[in-house]
Symmetry: C2
Subunit: 379 residues, 2 copies
Amino acid sequence: MPTDMPPLNPPKRLLLGPGPSMVAPRVYGAMGKPIVGYLDPYCFQVIEEIQAGLRKVFGTGNEFTIPVSGTGSAGMEAAVTNFAEPGQTFAIFVNGFFSERISEMARRQGARLVRFEKPWGEIFGDAEAREFIQRENPNVVAYVQAETSTGAFQPGKAICEAAHEASAVVIADCVTSLGGMPVEVDATGIDIAYSCSQKCLSCPPGLSPFTVSPRAWGRLEKRATPVQSWYLDLKLLDGYYKEHKYHHTVPISMLYALHEGLALVEEEGLEKRWERHRRNHLALVSAIEKMGLEMHVAAGHRLWTLNTPRVPAGVDDTKVRKRLLDEYGIEILGGFGPLGGKVFRIGLMGSSSTEQNVALLVEALQKALAADRDQAAKG
Amino acid sequence: MPTDMPPLNPPKRLLLGPGPSMVAPRVYGAMGKPIVGYLDPYCFQVIEEIQAGLRKVFGTGNEFTIPVSGTGSAGMEAAVTNFAEPGQTFAIFVNGFFSERISEMARRQGARLVRFEKPWGEIFGDAEAREFIQRENPNVVAYVQAETSTGAFQPGKAICEAAHEASAVVIADCVTSLGGMPVEVDATGIDIAYSCSQKCLSCPPGLSPFTVSPRAWGRLEKRATPVQSWYLDLKLLDGYYKEHKYHHTVPISMLYALHEGLALVEEEGLEKRWERHRRNHLALVSAIEKMGLEMHVAAGHRLWTLNTPRVPAGVDDTKVRKRLLDEYGIEILGGFGPLGGKVFRIGLMGSSSTEQNVALLVEALQKALAADRDQAAKG
């Protein structure tokens, strides 16, 4: 009997794009374990262990630290919908795609947006960041710590200090940093941080680690208007995670995955894991520069997790990436927006960040670029 | 070295509550397959096959039929946030917990709510439903086809006809019916329907099957205000599912799970699957009534998927359920809201709906009730 649902037979990919990254084999194993109900005592045990593990990778003592039941974008929306109030001032540092997305979400909440813009790939200096916040006196400040669209790392200490002086709470997007480089929520002064499961935590996509400081929680208690989202209303989620009251049915197999991903972080050691990411990033940059390619982000401002070499003049990045996928099974992605066609985006995150993968990618990229030049020369 | 992340070792449960139900072994296998990226051609192949499979179980030709990247409650929120506009009239049939939740979501969107209420477990007759809609002349009508909190099935044909005469679109909650009993979106006239992965489709929780009629899509095109949710904005999701433009990173392992769950539906045959659910439901009801328990929902209005026998007088349902879990490893849940302590909620959904499970549950429930009575007699 012919069927419209042929058996699943996914191709083997080496995932070196901006995410998802390779899933650790043990994580696949965890997802095969029998599920339990959302009110089962075992479910709450798993959740508590996940919460403890997330506090460590976030670098926080925040009690409210949970996995939001959606992808990283759901975490972003949870941050914005709970803390952007209609008519209040929402200050945003815009230097890439994900800060644009935060702006769009805040606009939909009816917030009064004030934006400090820089070209994609640059970062904000301490003095100018402080000045912007002092001038605008916002209720909420948002910035992207690890900008997946550009590969730039934005330090946050000056931003958080100035924001707190203005009595604002600070949202930081840590989607591409959590588990791969220092996030340091408490030491930096971040009030609301979110990430995802499928990058440096070596899990499939589907969960968004999320944390809220007591300071920000106090803000939530005083909100004048109801949060527009019921699904992402943090006070309702607190009722489930703290008081075990039904809210929604948590995605238990994904929770098993995240639990295993966090166990792997614990076993490796968080600082050793950061160092592994740093080392492989430096090795890639060195090899890339030896090939004659230039990095888009200035040295010292680069993520260890997501690398953006510029596409050499005369090279069609789409063709090169298609060749990498078809001939080597390697996924990397290109730039978009103002960086469309101008950079490659190469992720070395979680299980994908290995010395061997750096070597494989460098060799394949060299060959793909050479083949592209050959083809161009033949006209 | 002591670790805060002990190995996962979930207890074996027979899941006969209102969801999650038992995951089919092949579905666990599917989640172990290697993931690919969200722009990988293979990802779009899997998605297209899922879309075709979902159209069949929903009983619809709707082009926009997708798995929303969240749990069933995210599907409900997607329905409400896209179709409830501030100030517009939103009519809701309220006879259980999930219609109350729809009301709460619509209220947060700023809609003008009009409610037709009935006691939990009753359903709405055709004439009174029509009259309500004609009187209120709403923009949107919502009802719960399969009410998980009561076990009642609400026919929708009269509701949909009256709604369309009033130029309203109709939202139907099919969370507990999809894949277990006829949903018949097109034949009924439903415009927006959503469900979940963890009930009659035998997958873990984490996805919400979702469909929108062309009539409702036209409404979306004419919306005067932006949808408050970016994550659940259907027009943006259409950009990903139809035009393959990046929106969010889809939960690929959960998509593999749903693909396998839908393949199982296809192999069994949808009508045979409905018949299996009906047969096991009738067997359970018959055994329950022989035990002297009374069903809460009137015959003819009962779901085949979720059964609500009344808790006998003098019995503490919490103790009985704890005994079932601790001694037999069987999860069922109790009632809540006005049905708190008054009914058991016994699910026979997807892989959980078998003759053997009916027998196991009936025997265990008999023993647990007897033990509870013994204990009560001993005082």
